[in-house]
């Protein structure tokens, strides 16, 4: 294992101060969560995680390679800086999601879980009813549940009521790169819930990340947009800047949208002849 590259040194900008992202008893300085799937290599994945300055990455739970030939992903994740968020990806029933969550907790020794209960392999859209049911059960079992869900404000509220520690509405279908298809719903969800809102899935470009943060969400989770980019580490760095741009643009408070133009310079005192 080669030594981990150090994080790029960016001078702290006092104008870009921000509160940490708090989920359960966890606290994150970065609001960008990354996946660990689909990278061309573990080395490239690690470089992307460093470039994004992420502090939380998702991992999937799968049958171990019994030949012992596969290298463990965990050797490429600096767990002194990065928290593992096990997911239940690939589960289409409540029962499978519960079993996978329990296995993930045992393997990762933490009760954080990104809950995915999908409806079918074609759409990969989350099953709202099953997701709510599994959330209730996992909360009962002491998990800190982050359910991946559709962008339905009422479902999001029900998930919060069921004890979800954060809610993760999709921007658009998993891996689609379509961006935020329903921005008004994302705003509605953010405005009516207290728990952190993380946009998950469908983000394709840095501007998608910026838009998500401008809508007011607390964090964004990315995988394919970085892992499948031609240069994943460069894309991860771009995503980090995009997140900062959107987040601080939101915190700074945007101007109202006006129907008509409003001059930025004084309208009196010009040497130009009056028109009209």
């Amino acid at each position: 294992m080669s030594p981990a590259p150090s994080a790029p040194s960016v001078p702290p900008d006092p104008l870009l101060a921000d509160a940490p992202l708090k989920i359960g008893r966890w606290s994150f300085g970065s609001r960008l969560l990354l996946g660990t799937g689909k990278y061309p290599s573990h080395d490239v994945m690690r470089a992307a995680h460093v470039a994004a300055a992420t502090e939380c990455v998702t991992v999937a739970v799968r049958r171990v390679d019994l030949s012992g030939r596969e290298k463990s992903l965990l050797d490429w994740i600096d767990r002194t800086r990065i928290t593992l968020l096990p997911n239940t990806a690939g589960c289409f029933t409540v029962d499978d999601a519960l079993r996978t969550a329990r296995l993930g907790r045992e393997a990762g020794l933490s009760e954080l879980v990104k809950l995915e209960v999908l409806s079918d392999p074609q759409t990969l859209l989350p099953d709202p009813i099953a997701t709510l049911e599994a959330t209730k059960q996992l909360v009962k079992e002491g998990f800190v549940v982050l359910p991946y869900c559709s962008d339905d404000p009422i479902l999001a509220r029900r998930l919060e009521e069921a004890g979800a520690a954060a809610v993760m509405p999709l921007g658009s279908p998993i891996g689609s790169g379509q961006g935020i298809n329903n921005p008004r719903n994302i705003v509605r969800i953010k405005q009516s819930l207290r728990v952190p809102i993380l946009v998950d899935a469908g983000v394709g470009t840095p501007s998608d990340v910026t838009i998500a943060f401008e809508l007011g969400v607390d964090a964004v989770l990315l995988n394919s947009a970085v892992a499948l980019a031609r240069d994943p580490a460069r894309m991860a760095a771009a995503m980090r800047h995009a997140a900062l741009a959107g987040r601080h643009g939101f915190l700074a408070g945007r101007i109202a949208v006006a129907e008509a133009a409003r001059a930025s310079s004084p309208e009196s005192g010009t040497i130009a002849a009056a028109k009209g």
Binding site: G35, G37, R62, R63, P86, A107, I174, N223
Partner: protein, 69 residues
């Protein structure tokens, strides 16, 4: 012939010498216990119960973390 049992290991049948504990099987497979989790007959088997002996017909799942989103 030493006694053997047949279990289902990660979805495939496997014959093993008996008696054999889960811990002994993990050691045999050279799987580091701190990076895996085990399910026995669809219930999680916590690490502190890896001394349990396997029985004929047991269904064992051994999982770990892989890349995912």
């Amino acid at each position: 012939m030493p006694p053997t049992i047949t279990i289902e290991l990660n979805g495939a049948p496997k014959s093993l010498p008996a008696p054999l504990s889960v811990a002994a099987l993990l050691a045999e497979l050279k799987l580091p216990a701190e990076r895996i989790a085990v399910e026995l007959n669809r219930d999680l088997l916590p690490r502190d119960r890896f001394a349990r002996e396997l029985a004929d017909g047991d269904r064992l799942e051994i999982v770990t973390f892989v890349g995912g989103g």
